[in-house]
């Protein structure tokens, strides 16, 4: 599964994207797996309410299923315009 990070999530984790082997069935489970990896992931995901997630480039909730999903992206709330 392709996992992407943007803005300060990318900076904290230290890379823009990576391929993750996971059996997580929801976004929340994937977050728990990533957070358990290393301090930099823990730092990025310490407050999930400050984060947004997109599944295959559509905004989703953290309890959404990962079934069939190829691309997961984590980022802070958008600040365009």
């Amino acid at each position: 599964m392709q996992v992407m990070y943007f803005a300060w999530v990318r900076e904290r984790i230290g890379l823009p994207r990576e391929v993750v082997e996971t059996s997580a069935s929801t976004v929340a489970q994937l977050v728990d797996e990533l957070r358990a990896r290393e301090a930099r992931y823990e730092a990025a995901f310490e407050d999930v309410t400050a984060l947004r997630v997109a599944l295959d480039q559509e905004l989703a909730d953290f309890d959404a299923s990962l079934e069939g999903v190829q691309e997961v992206a984590f980022f802070p709330p958008m600040t365009g315009g």
């Binding site: 997109a54 480039q57 559509e58 600040t79």
Partner: protein
């Protein structure tokens, strides 16, 4: 029309081209966002985005505006990358027979792209740089629609 680009663009030229392309719609509204040094000390801005999702999100927001209001056309141009103070960040334009539709649709486009299109702004000053925090009032603005 949706355009996501690193290159600067000329809002006046875009407004004229847009206006000439929408025969029959006499009311044209535009919004232009410019990098301003409000606090003093800002040297520029870095805008990050999510290629692919950005175009999809803007297309979906534009599509909803075209459905909800009587519009002849709606346009969004948004830059990414490094911008200096005084440069234009983005522009929205709407064309309708009715000024109310043109105004409301332009506000809708702005409210949605602020909080639903994957752009992130970082302010660059001489002391360093920091991500612009999202504002509760931007999220609340969506409640109107």
């Amino acid at each position: 029309m949706i355009r996501v680009q690193a290159m600067p663009f000329d809002p006046g030229g875009e407004l004229n081209t847009f206006s000439q392309g929408v025969a029959g719609a006499g009311a044209i509204v535009s919004f232009t966002g410019v990098v301003r040094d409000v606090t003093g000390g800002l040297s520029g801005m870095e805008i990050e985005h999510y290629p692919g999702m950005t175009e999809k999100a803007l297309g979906a927001i534009r599509g909803e505006a075209m459905q909800r209001w009587d519009l002849a056309e709606a346009m969004v141009i948004h830059r990414f990358g490094r911008l200096d103070v005084g440069e234009v960040i983005m522009m929205v334009a709407t064309a309708s027979k009715h000024r109310k539709d043109a105004f409301e649709a332009a506000e809708f486009l702005m409210d949605y792209l602020k909080s639903r299109a994957p752009f992130w702004k970082k302010e660059v000053t001489l002391e360093g740089s920091s991500w612009v925090a999202s504002r509760d009032e931007d999220e609340e603005a969506l409640g109107r629609w």
